[in-house]
């Protein structure tokens, strides 16, 4: 388990015609290693008028969070290279990384992980399997004041 099934690689073509949001739209950084889930949330968020930047591991996520204009980060926890919480710890140790609004979106519900996430200033700890993409988008938009 954990091995990436080649069939679930992120498809290049966009099946649904989603209008690309404006470049000044609120930007969400989605850090999620499962390509299928990433594509699903990305499609939903774009259709809600949000700009989405995507990273498939913690290192890439940290790089984007450091170099790009980001309004909100959605963070998965179990990821290759750098886990979600280790990535967040590094981000929080940077001068400009303390104020990022972060929502954890995971299927991991270990009490110690939840506590560690909250200690790192995470706004919400959401369980993927309990929510539809619409519900996740609604929560994100509430934080963005949309």
């Amino acid at each position: 388990m954990g091995d990436q099934d080649p069939q679930t690689k992120l498809p290049q073509e966009e099946p649904m015609a989603v209008q690309e949001p404006a470049s000044d739209a609120p930007t969400v950084l989605f850090i999620e290693d499962d390509p299928l889930l990433l594509k699903m949330y990305e499609t939903k968020f774009k259709s809600e008028g949000l700009r989405v930047l995507a990273a498939q591991d913690g290192e890439e996520g940290l790089r984007l969070a450091t170099n790009e204009r980001i309004d909100l980060i959605i963070l998965d926890l179990m990821m290759p290279k750098l886990s979600g919480l280790d990535m967040l710890e590094r981000l929080r140790s940077q001068a400009h990384g303390k104020s990022h609004v972060v929502i954890v979106l995971t299927n991991l519900t270990k009490e110690d992980e939840i506590k560690r996430a909250m200690d790192l200033g995470v706004k919400e700890y959401l369980v993927k399997a309990d929510l539809t993409p619409n519900e996740v988008a609604a929560k994100v938009k509430a934080y963005l004041g949309k």
Binding site: M1, G2, M16, D34, L36, L37, M40, Y41, T43, K44, S47, N107, L108, T109, E111, K128, A129, D130, T132, P133, N134
Partner: protein, 274 residues
């Protein structure tokens, strides 16, 4: 005198041998027990990992189904909507199953943190009724809700967990009943508690099976001879209800349907009829 000494020696020797045997037996037992514990731990870890891995594809199925139903991919015909509702209901059942697998070892080991709060049980019963109405109606079952007009129903529990218990009981009733009805009923108890009953007109459960029903991994054989589920649902319900100082049980006769019930104490400051 000599004979006595010999007896004493023999007695000591026998005692010594018995002690050695006792130690050897104890060591063998502890090894066996240690091994069982180890296997048990490995099994729990495997269940936890498998459940976690299952959650990702289930999330994707749930997500895409909801997006189609919500019109993200264009207009949906009423017939397709019906099919999608069926697919969603089945998927929700899988999500519940996986959640049960993840929860069981955590509750047993006291690692599950409960978010205790006041809950109006009537509201929880109503939302379970709403959630299962479509599934019951698809099986041509009548689904009923019976709540007295005046009821004292505030309990101090983890509301999400009580929702899970009610969903488990109602889901079982709908699953095992092929014709007739499923009813959710609330009533106050004389000694200041509240009782929720899930009554069905299903095949009933034999006295023999009733004894084993709330045990871990026990699965009821359905009328078609098939067993369904993980055998964890009712076991978890029992752990949870007992955690909230309540009781759980069932009344059933062969061929006469079943009534699964749980009772919880009313939150102290809310004893008066609300």
């Amino acid at each position: 005198m000599e004979i006595r000494q010999e007896h004493l020696l023999l007695f000591s020797l026998v005692n010594f041998v018995l002690l050695i045997i006792a130690i050897v037996v104890a060591v063998i037992n502890s090894r066996k027990y240690g091994k069982i514990k180890e296997v048990d731990k490995e099994k729990d870890e495997f269940i936890s990992m498998a459940a976690h891995e299952l959650r990702a594809p289930l999330t994707a199925i749930k997500g895409y189904l909801s997006m189609i139903v919500e019109g993200d991919a264009g207009e949906v015909s009423p017939k397709a909507r019906g099919f999608l509702a069926d697919a969603s209901a089945v998927n929700e059942r899988l999500v519940r199953l996986v959640n049960n697998m993840l929860n069981v070892s955590r509750i047993e080991q006291g690692r599950l943190v409960f978010q205790m709060d006041k809950l109006h049980l009537a509201r929880a019963a109503r939302s379970a009724f709403d959630a299962f109405r479509a599934e019951a109606e698809r099986k041509d079952l009548e689904i009923l809700l019976e709540i007295p007009e005046k009821i004292s129903d505030v309990v101090f529990v983890d509301p999400d967990k009580i929702d899970e218990v009610i969903a488990n009981l109602v889901s079982n009733a709908v699953k095992f009943t092929n014709e007739g009805f499923v009813k959710i009923k609330l009533l106050n108890l004389q000694e200041g508690g509240i009782r929720l009953e899930v009554i069905d007109s299903g095949p009933g459960i034999s006295a023999e099976e009733q004894k084993k029903l709330f045990r871990k991994f026990y699965r009821v054989e359905s009328t078609s001879g098939k067993t369904i589920g993980t055998g964890l649902g009712l076991y978890i319900c029992k752990l949870l209800i007992e955690k909230f100082s309540g009781k759980i049980g069932l009344i059933s006769n062969d061929d006469k349907g079943s009534t699964f019930w749980f009772e919880l104490p009313i939150s102290k400051s809310d004893r008066e009829i609300s």
